[in-house]
C-alpha cells in the first residue's frame, strides 16, 4: 500500500510541473460550462420548460456535470497507457513488483483530486457569476446512493477506457485515433454534454443497456432526486454489474495483450 501512496504523491507533484498546461485545461472546462450555459439560456428564452426541464434544473445539471465529470473522466492514463504499450515503456513496470493497472489508477486518482479541488472553486465562481437556482437533494439516502453510484462510475470509466487503450497491444500505430473516437462517444452517451432524457425515447431505451449513463447521467439524476430511492438502488446494482463486467473484460484483454507484447522500442 505504501508504494501506491508514494506514487500518488509523486503524480501530484508531477501535475504541478506543467502548471500552465493544467490551468489551460481547467479554463477549457469552465469555458465549456459557460458555453452550455448560454446555449441553454437561448433555448429557454420565452419558455419555462424545454424537454421537460425547467431553466434552473437544466442549468443546475450543466453545473453538476462540471464536478461529476471532472472526477469520472480526469484520467491521464488514457493519454499515456497506449503510448507506453506501443513504445515499450510498459516494460519498466512489468519488471518490478508493482501492478501496472494499480499504478495508473493511482496516478489517475492524483489527477482527479487536483482537478476536483479546482472544479469546486470554479463552481463557486460560476455560481457567484451566474446565480442560477440549483437543486441538490439533502436527503442522506440520496446523497449516499449518489456517491456510491459516482464511485462505481469512476471505476467503470477507468476499466472501459483501458479496454480501448489496450488495443495498442495489437495495433500500436493507431491507438490515439481509436481512443479519441471512443472518448467522444463516451462523453455524449454518458450525458456529459446534455441530460440523456432530452434524447428520443428509443435512444434512451437503448442506452439503458449500455454502461454509459452510469458514468454521469444517473449519478447526477440521483443527486437531484430525479429517481425514487428504489429506482436508485436498482441503478446502483446495475452499475455494479457493469463494473464487474468491465473489470473482467479489461483484465482478459490485458492478459491477452501481454502475450502479444513484444517489448519493442529497441
Amino acid at each position: 500500500m505504501r508504494k501506491y501512496r508514494l506514487i500518488f504523491s509523486l503524480a501530484f507533484q508531477n501535475e504541478f510541473i506543467y502548471r500552465l498546461n493544467f490551468v489551460l485545461w481547467r479554463f477549457r472546462n469552465v469555458l465549456r460550462v459557460l458555453l452550455a450555459f448560454f446555449l441553454w439560456s437561448v433555448v429557454f428564452t420565452g419558455r419555462d420548460t424545454a424537454f421537460g426541464y425547467t431553466r434552473p434544473q437544466m442549468l443546475g445539471y450543466v453545473l453538476f456535470v462540471l464536478v461529476i465529470q471532472t472526477l469520472v473522466m480526469s484520467a491521464p492514463s488514457n493519454d499515456n497507457v497506449g503510448g507506453e504499450i506501443a513504445n515499450g515503456d510498459l516494460s519498466n513496470y512489468l519488471l518490478k513488483p508493482v501492478s501496472y493497472l494499480k499504478f495508473w489508477f493511482t496516478r489517475d486518482l492524483a489527477s482527479k483530486l487536483l482537478n476536483i479541488l479546482f472544479s469546486v472553486g470554479e463552481i463557486v465562481l460560476l455560481w457567484l457569476l451566474l446565480r442560477p437556482e440549483i437543486y441538490l437533494s439533502f436527503h442522506p439516502v440520496s446523497l449516499l446512493l449518489g456517491l456510491l453510484l459516482w464511485i462505481s462510475g469512476v471505476l467503470i470509466y477507468f476499466f472501459l477506457t483501458k479496454i480501448a487503450v489496450f488495443a495498442a497491444f495489437w495495433t500500436p500505430e493507431n491507438t490515439w485515433g481509436f481512443m479519441f473516437v471512443i472518448l467522444v462517444f463516451m462523453e455524449v452517451l454518458s450525458g456529459a454534454i446534455f441530460p440523456l432524457d432530452v434524447l428520443p425515447g428509443w435512444v434512451q431505451s437503448a442506452l439503458q443497456f449500455t454502461p454509459f449513463p452510469y458514468l454521469i447521467y444517473y449519478p447526477i439524476g440521483i443527486f437531484v432526486d430525479r429517481f425514487s430511492h428504489a429506482h436508485a438502488l436498482r441503478l446502483l446494482a446495475q452499475s455494479l454489474i457493469w463494473l464487474g463486467i468491465s473489470i473482467w473484460l479489461s483484465l482478459r484483454v490485458w492478459r491477452a495483450g501481454l502475450k502479444n507484447y513484444s517489448a519493442t522500442g529497441r
Binding site: 505504501r2 508504494k3 508514494l6 506514487i7 509523486l10 507533484q13 508531477n14 510541473i17 506543467y18 515499450g88 515503456d89 516494460s91 519498466n92 512489468l94 519488471l95 518490478k96 513488483p97 508493482v98 501481454l258 502475450k259 507484447y261 513484444s262 517489448a263 522500442g265 529497441r266
Partner: protein
Amino acid sequence: MPVIQVQNLKKYYKVHQKEPGLSGSIRSLFSRKYYDAKAVDGVSFDIGEGELVGFIGPNGAGKTTTLKVLSGLLYPTSGTVSVLGFTPWDRKPEFQKQFSLVMGQKNQLWWDLPAMESFILNKEIYEVPDAQFKQTLDELVELLEVKDFLKVQVRKLSLGQRMKMELIAALIHSPRILFLDEPTIGLDVVMQKKMRDFIKEYNQRFNSTIILTSHYMDDVKELCERVIIIDKGRLLFDGALAEIIKKFANHKLLTAVFSEEVNREDLEKIGQVKEFDYPRAVISVKRTVASQAAAQLLQNFPVADLNIEEPQIEDIIREVFTGKDLA
C-alpha cells in the same frame, strides 16, 4: 547449481509484411501476409552464481530478446527457462525483487522529477528497508560520483549522468542478477571506461551474476571471462574468451619486415597476403603449418623482423558473423 538455466529457448515473432507505397498500405488493410521472424531459435546455456557473462552478436541476433525472456517481459514460443528457480514470465514479486534489467536506450526515471524521487519510489516498490536503502544509495552515489546531481530534474542531466542514475535506480534493491543491455551505448570513451570499472567492481564486491550485451568489444574483453555468441537466433559459441581464438581462428598472422624489395606474387605462395606495404607485410596462414610457413619465409626472403601472432578477437568475431571462411 546454476542460477540461470535456459533450455532450447525459441522465440518467434509474427511479423506482417507490407508492400511499399500507399497501395501496399491499402492492400495490407484487407489481407496481410505474415511470416515468423525467428528472433531466438533453440538456445541453451547455464550460468552460475557470480559469473559475468558477455552476450555478443550483431544487431538482430537475438541478444535483447533473450534478455527480455529471462526477465519475464516476453513469453517464449517454446523451451524452458529458470532464473533463480523461477519461471520469469510468471512475474512473481519474489523473483522480481532479485533481479534488474538495465537497457541503455530506455529510461525508467521520472523525467520531470529529480532522480532521488525515483529512487525513493523504487525503494517502496521493492520494499527495501530504510537502513539498507541508505547504505546502498550512499555506496552507489559514491562509486558513481553523482552526489551533486541527486536533486536535479532528470531531464536536465547529461546522458552520462542520467545513465548513472538509471544504474542506481536499477540497483537500489541489491539484485542478485543483473541484465545489462548495451549499458555503454552513446557514452564517451571516458564514461565508458568508468561504467566498465563500476560493473566490474559491482560484480566482485557483491558476487552478483551479470549478463552484459554490448557492441563494444572493449566492454566484453575487459569484463567478461566467459562469452556467449549468438547470431540469427542461434548459439555459435559459449566459453572462455580465449577459447574463441582456438575454436574459430584456424589461421595465424605472420608479420614480416623486409630489408630488401620483395615481390607480392612470391609472398602469395606462402599464404594469403592481407596487407602489403613495403617494407611490411601481413600474411595469413593455416595454424597447422604456421611454423613451416615462417621457416620458408625466413629462408627465401630477406626478412629483417618476423612476428607470429594470433588474430584480433574483433576480427575473428566479425568473420564469424559475416560467415566468411576463416583461413
